[in-house]
Amino acid sequence: MGRSQTVKVVLWGIAGVGLATVAHRMVYGLGATTNLSDPVPWGLWKGVGVIAGIAMGAGGFVLTGVIHVFRLHRYHALVRPAVITALMGYGSAATMLLFDIGLPWRIWHPIVYWQIHSPLFEVAWCVMLYLTVLSLEFTPIVLERFQYWRSLAAWMVKWLSLPLAILGVMISTLHQSTLGTIFLITPQLHPLWYSPIQHLLFLTSAAGLGMTVIMAEFMIVPWLYRKPADVPMLSSLARAICYTLWAYFALRLIDVVFLTGSISQVLSGSWESVAFVLELAFSVLIPCVLLLVPRVRTTAAGLLSCAALIIMGFVFERSVVSGIAMLRASGADYFPSWSEFGLYGGILAGAGLFFLFAVEEFAIWTPKLVGEQLRPPLPADTAGDGWLQARPGVFTSRGSLAFVLGAAVAVGLLPFQSARSEGLVRAATQAARGEEDGVLHIDGDRDGFLVAFDHGMHIEENGGRPDSCKRCHHMNLPHDKQTGCYGCHTDMHLAMSIFSHDRHVASLGLNQSCRQCHAAGVGRSEETAKACAECHTPDKLTLKVPGATVKSDGSMAVGYEDAMHGLCITCHKDVAKLEEKAHHAECTTCHKPEIAGAQAIESVLGGAAVPR
């Protein structure tokens, strides 16, 4: 296999992982697939996939705009790769967003539901419009392949290139900056990034990052196809990138020194200050200083290293702004789950495969990277066999194998635990409440292994509805929290009873002791045994519940009302004294005057626990 084919096999494998995680996300939802949470609602997919992804596609509008408007014909070779890169960047960001939003089938809603004051509304519209512009710019590239459409393609190139380029810059200026506007309204962002000019920072950095991505591409793609890179042209592109990045750096300094004054935070030694220094060092300082050295500027290796630093730096910057720098304020932790990485990687791999397909199939690179002699026209009868590869045979099967293998490995690794506990909590609980014989599946310790709890049997054994509910839906655990199984089932091998036969046998002399309780000549059972009170004086049978007013008769525990009154009131009185809140000890705090009896309990339990 050649370089490009090895890369394609790897990409197919990652795409397979992506497909499996997409299925997982669609079936089980975001909670099972991602590590997102209420305090961290945006993660890898939004921060890196969408926000950094759109910035990485910015090379398209910058280069087509500049080259077409200023007629820089020397750089014309950059235009088509820039268009296809932007198409991939925006396309993958839009796909990423599709799976990131909770209701993917409503992604078209911003077209119909307008809310013109929202930055995201503007971004949504601009991305849709710019994807249209990119498609129009890409159309002649496709049409050229077909003899019949060639004249139309030539017409489009001649007359539409300039207006489309200008339109692209107009739209992109808006949404690249508006992506920064998103973070003007998030005060939980650390002061080093909570900037009033975040939109300008995003715009300038996107321009620099976008051009850097194209520059990297112009070294990686020829390497894949064993062709030389056009280093002199890339050196002058690198110079333009440096100017843009220094402009960004200046804006950034103005921001932290004069506008927000958060520069003092840099010396605080917090991890945010370290992130700030690292981010600026990677994205601007190190690469731009390195590019001053002629040996770096004029070699492909040097340029590629600087491009890698810049791309890493800005992807880091975007993810810091869109989430990492909010973690301290929201008091939460977040690291993407592997399935988040899997889905993100899968989408990028898909974009990469489409990119390589386009590079091989259409006249994007000049001179063309894959010679015509390598690709004889396909015989008509095999045309449908390998359309994704456009080349049937050994390679197709390797790609497919990698794809299936990737998907299989991902399915095997999917966090079945979180997936399985979804729905059981809600659906089974509802069912158990609805029917007498409902069985709940309870994962009490959340280890992924469920206990089948026969709710109906428990209701029956404890005296039926509604009196039995409060035995487990305990009053000292407010509302819908329940007593754990161990609250009653202290011994796995004995029936639920407060009478311990073993203990009596042991203390009375083992096998010699039966007659002490069971009369001779009748079957030995609970019914035929002595009553407890015959041996035990009543006060010894009283359960140790503080403040209980009713004594146990021996075989039963005290009623829950008494148990609860005993448990609640003593503590309420203590709190009322300690915290000077007389309300705590008053009956009406728990019992409303207008309701009584079972309803009073219900009002204390909050209704949620007592089925109606």
Binding site: G31, V69, G102, H109, H117, P119, P187, R239, A608
Partner: protein, 296 residues
């Protein structure tokens, strides 16, 4: 139109959780279990209000503040969240796409998400506008045994009552007046610091939507401005290149007679050092992309 209000007095709250139970009953919320994605403040997609215990035996009820100029409403790209004229901030789940920007933008971190569902929605206090039996009357305020949380039909009355309490007890502080992001319909009177309820310790008096208003509302001007500037530049460059070619043609035609004076005359000539056939790459490569970055 006058706004509704809820006034919560933390000095009166005994932490009995009656309000939480009433909220669950009124809004038909299913039982809750601890989940990985909960924030730990008691709120979740199935629990819209919670009583938080603070040091010193103090209790603070957390719920949506129903801001008068809410951040969540300003950022929602499809207008699923709306601030009604009488105060409550309500949610239309038919429009929501699930972008979760409201969760990011809310300075109090109130909106929660159905992370466990395949078709999830945003969940938050509705001021009982969706309540079946008594729409618009917050159930939490009906059950409070100590009248620690009270419903007012007019926010001004609630403010007046709060100020009366403040006058009686100088240790108290009012939260939710207009000096807090433009005011909220859920007001607090407290003898303890309530800044833990919001992300930033001091949110300031500017309503949250104002922070993005300037950038968002300049959109049409930026759009047309960039368009005009680029079209102008394209026309200018085109004109310069055409003139340059014309001059070159004239120059080659009249090469013998007077070649020098005309070429250096026009002031636009220095910019146009890149005719299509030119082979001087480096100054061109420096100038033009540099010019672009200033423009964008």
């Amino acid at each position: 139109m006058s706004k509704k209000a809820i006034l919560t007095d933390t000095t009166k709250c005994i932490g009995c959780n009656e309000c939480v139970a009433a909220c669950k009953r009124a809004n038909n919320l299913p039982p809750d279990v601890p989940r990985r994605w909960h924030k730990g403040d008691g709120l979740s997609s199935r629990t819209w209000t919670a009583v938080i215990r603070r040091p010193g035996g103090k209790f603070v009820r957390k719920q949506c503040r129903h801001c008068i100029e809410p951040a969540c409403v300003a950022v929602c790209p499809v207008g699923a969240l709306k601030a009604t004229d009488d105060g409550p901030v309500v949610y239309d789940q038919e429009a929501c796409i699930g972008c979760r920007y409201c969760m990011l933008a809310c300075p109090y971190g109130i909106p929660r998400y159905d992370w466990d569902l395949a078709a999830p929605y945003i969940e938050k206090c509705t001021f009982c506008t969706t309540r079946k039996d008594k729409p618009g009357i917050p159930a939490c305020t009906e059950v409070c045994p100590t009248k620690a949380t009270v419903y007012f039909e007019d926010r001004q009355e609630a403010l007046a009552e709060a100020k009366r309490r403040l006058a009686a007890n100088p240790k108290l502080k009012l939260y939710g007046d207009t000096d807090e992001i433009g005011g909220t319909c859920v007001l607090y009177v407290s003898d303890i610091d309530l800044s833990f309820l919001s992300y930033a310790t001091d949110l300031g008096s500017t309503p949250m939507p104002k922070t993005i208003a300037a950038a968002i509302h300049s959109t049409p001007f930026v759009f047309t401005g960039v368009g005009l500037a680029l079209t102008g530049a394209a026309v200018g460059v085109n004109w310069v290149v055409a003139r340059r070619m014309k001059l070159q043609a004239m120059q080659s035609a009249q090469q013998e007679e007077a070649p020098v004076s005309e070429e250096s005359g026009p002031s636009e000539a220095p910019e146009a050092d890149g005719p299509p056939t030119s082979s001087a790459p480096s100054p061109e490569g420096q100038q033009e992309p540099g010019a672009e970055s200033e423009e964008s």
